[in-house]
Symmetry: T
């Protein structure tokens, strides 16, 4: 039983990029929380961060049959990548869309997610805590 | 220390209304989970469901200075009530927007929330489990 | 066997409000016609007028299991109340949307009804006569 | 005293075309009901079905001075024919727009009628029963 | 040398239809003026009115090689008939679009003409006088 | 002779809600100014604040025949309540729309008022002083 | 077993109309290719060209039960005829939409087809060769 | 009895500016034709060209009570000057909108005229000849 | 201490232009009222009316450091002049936007003001009385 | 002489992904058909599938001067990749856009292709058979 | 050989107007830099600033045949003046559009320039330095 | 002190791709100019061209703390890559957006840049010379 955590473009900068929006926790901090949450439920855990849309698509493909759930923070691909949305649509497990900040409180174009129609659920606005929540939520749906 | 849970129009029908979308858990089930979550964190808990926009606005007003966080499932008011959004904007505590189903996977008009720009964060698509998650998330932000 | 007739905001003014658009018949006249039509088919009849969206929602809730059909003239809520639309969607009986005047012949914003997608059918533009027609139509679908 | 019933494109297929939407009653069934309704009120009755926009326009022209009311189910011309709308605008009698199904519950483009602004009233969603209702409604306005 | 005058749907009603917009001159009056204008320039003249889009298309086809100019009042087809626009685009002679009233002073949808991009020029708003003006204008371009 | 002052949702919070936008004057301060202005002109004065759309509609109904003018600050209902607009349209007296802040200087959705087309005039952006100005303006139109 | 080929408005001009867009092959050339393709598969073949929307609708009706597939080049009706789209929706056989040129490379309004949502598939941009391809494609789906 | 001819911005360049669109006739040529046409009808004639919106507005004001008709080629002000439209609305005489080229055959933004709703009629696409036609048309309406 | 009153295009016609919309009071009447109001508060007063956007911009520039407040009725420039909006944004005093009639009750394009986002407040719909109100309001903000 | 076949994101899943839309044929099946078609015409054949936009762009670059035609199924990049469109625009050979399903019969956003304006032609909706058709079509244009 | 520098509305305020956006350099500073740049290339130099659209149009006209290049900072006219765009289109020399700040980083309406489609190139966001850059760029294109 | 020059998709084709739009200078020519400009200012220089959005994002990340300015020609990513925009927003140095041609003079979709709101400034339309200008501009801002 495995949870795959996927982080999209620019999230490797977390903690140093626009801290007034994204906070000072690093991606490593977030991943550590998510991994701990998975472990606490007895799940294996894998993490990938990529700035390449194609790599994210292929990580989703690879999860078919190997991971029970995907937690994905698609970063700016949230708003434009129909290809990631198609990949998620082809994945049958639980899918949780995750955002650190509340996109609706920012620029107009961040209010619509092309990924949202194909996921199980969405968690947004809880910063680093969202990573642990998303893993818990995924496990809850698998239980 | 108190959490206020607010449920909007038609949520009193939960469990009997369109169960293929909303599931068979009743609102009482959801509220029991939320109350338990609040208690487990040592928080008082209060619940209101109303089909009246004005009552929801006034419950938010009453929470000013009496509750530390609001968890709100605004139902269909999500998409039209600027007055609830204004009330939430005037509330300084933690505000969690909650939806049972994933609005983006349904009709086009459900994709935009007029409430989202003024809340702390959003949780959508996890059904009954979302109620416990939302209380936990609110407490997490208060901690 | 029962028909519920619901009238929305401002319809209590009928006969005195903008008679060049709505005519001089009063709501009492319309309700009397609808009640007579229901009686002629052997149906019980109940009428509610409210300027409160929440009361209309709750009247629809109460009709679940107690009324076989709802005839509703939502007034200006026609164009904005997703909450009434959700309530109607959760009602399994026959649902007839009724308008006194022809909304399409008036302001642009009156051309779209958010309620229309969830009703059985619509009758518009026949003034007072529409009330009797709507009851007849509802009965026809129940027969 | 005469009622003219006009049916637009594809309605000749009624009963065989997409029965899950339009039902299994044929156009002949509908016309028979409408004719009977007209007769019951002492009105003459004429029926035309055409898949040609021009023929429908000319039938409306011919009704000027010869028919007291037109009941028209414009089919798909509802959404595009400004020429039929202009012809109806030039007709001074009672004009009832009729639809078998509820257009608002179907594709987005069926929600707007270019004909609606120039008719007396609209009846939609009552299937075969709508034909009789429309004739009754027209007579009611003429009485 | 020949001028073809084409009139679209509902123009046969001219003089009796909505005289507050279109005036009391009949189409026969207009055609007589246009014919006289053509004769005064030594041009043959032919007139067709049709409520059938297909007949107008075919009249334009027939004008290829037989008429030096087309004056066309497309009526409500102005706003929707890409097929007439395509037919006119395939005609190499002078093409004058003619309207009795000023479409921009009426409904919003009358402000855009799908025919306008393929004609030589447009004359609108001069009532019956426009017919003579349009013939003169066509001749002027041919001179 | 009477002036009715109506305040919509959230205005009861005035002075404590987002003071950087709305200032620190309370609603009581504003109402006292308005009442004094009415008195100075020899008018009776009545005030209602409500967070319920239905109560505002009914207060407008009650003003028919009992108040000579309505001053209304509809709050967030300004942008969505067609029902309040319909109620105001059915009221024949002077109607003044009032806003504390300048809506155009804020979010995009605050730029359009659905109430504006049916009022006599609008006053916006003058804070507490607007209440007195609006009463004076109403009296001016009644004089 | 039969294939019906339908050509819409202005296609009778092929070879002489705007040859820089549509080429110099005539419709007769195209039809000969399509007929030969049908024959090579052992299918009967019928061809209709019409500038009348109504005739195209009726040809589609007539194909119900008599032709196994329709290949249709709707010309400019592609962009406006919901009535042809409804007729095609009511036809259960294979339906191939065909265009000589690539509509997307031309005017903006040619980018959207109202017919496309109800056909089996589309072939566009291959000129005369498209006719043979469309027949082959239809046969392929029937095989 | 007087005709006022007004030419807007850039028309002083006529004959030298983009001759492939506007031709090689100069504004002096056009004005000479218009003046001759006015004289032939026994009308006085005045001409103004200005690149200043304010001067055009004031020329329209000055025409109130002194000129029987205005012929105006507003140039690019056609598409943006609500102030010129308001000035024309306040002028009670005959108003002819004139364009040298056919705006609909050019950029998208040239298809809509803010002036068109307030003029008597429009003539477009006939180049230099339009000036004479416009004067004739104005006189025709005055006769 | 000085108030500058600016009137935009066509306002010089006041009293004679479309009196059913703008009334029969002249601009001189309005200015006299405004001047009296300024005097009553002990303020100097200056008035400019111009049909030239550039002159209005320069009058606003000149007011920097010389006038304490600007009352501006921008006429039709309200809806299009970003340059006037920029000039007002660069002026630090009190700025009152004034309209004689209620723009929202007229054409659709009059509902949005490009000037509104940069002014202190707006007064609309009170005719001649608005001039005095606007001066009083400006003084009130300066006090 | 060579044909290059390019398949975009998620097409490697073909046969296992959403078979109700895409069928059970695998990409290997499709490629085998395309290769056979190329061979039958005496053409070399090369195939690339990639989930990386950049790799598809570079494959198109590499085809300049080495392949006579490109057949491309861009998957979800169809709707968003202006960069692939620019790459195709810079390729002078024959370009065929290919889709397995009929995009117009699915979500709204699938109706517009940013690639379509720069290709020679499009084939959509014929499933696996489309691969052979597209190669044949490309060869047909090269012949 | 000459360079004409044109500055539009409100730029005369440079250095005093909203310095947080536009900086504290004055227009005289900018012009001095531009003049020096022109001189360094051996070009004559002329400067005009105007708040009047008509004067800018006429300065562009005057540049035809007398100046080799125009550098223009159109200020707020950038977003609305089709007349300036037409004047620039009629000028055959090099045309450089210049902005002090980056319009895309400000209000939404500043993102589109109606002038941009007719200029040679654009320089935006470099403050005072842009003036020298624009002259250099113009000279570079003339070399 | 270092300048990083980034070129996006298809720019490797420069000089061979659509030379009527992009000219015959190669990317190597442009880079040589930029390098020389950097050297003349005493700056180090690095160049990357990539057709992969992810590589461009990572090059921007790598520039944090190592390069003082980025000059970026994002090619077609200009119009769609919110991920590159986010990466640039997270970079604190000077950022210059560069385009060879004038995007506004081409297709409609090239008029809006999603990158523009986060850069320091933009240079567009000066071809190869833009590379040198952009480096000079970046250095100017750093000085």
């Amino acid at each position: 039983m495995k949870i795959l955590l996927l982080d999209g473009p620019n999230l490797n900068l977390l903690g140093t990029r626009e801290p007034e929006i994204y906070g000072t926790d690093t991606l490593a901090d977030c991943v550590r929380d998510a991994a701990a949450a998975a472990a606490s439920h007895g799940y294996e855990f894998e993490h990938r961060q990529s700035n390449h849309e194609g790599e994210i698509i292929e990580a989703i493909h690879a999860a078919r049959g190997t991971a029970d759930a995907i937690v994905i923070n698609p970063g700016a691909f949230t708003h434009s990548s129909y290809a990631i949305a198609d990949a998620l649509a082809a994945y049958d497990g639980v899918k949780v869309e995750l955002h650190l900040s509340n996109p609706s409180a920012r620029e107009e174009w961040r209010r619509l997610s092309v990924v949202a129609p194909v996921v199980t659920g969405t968690i947004a606005g809880f910063g680093r805590a969202g990573y642990r929540m998303a893993v818990d939520a995924a496990v809850g749906r698998l239980a």
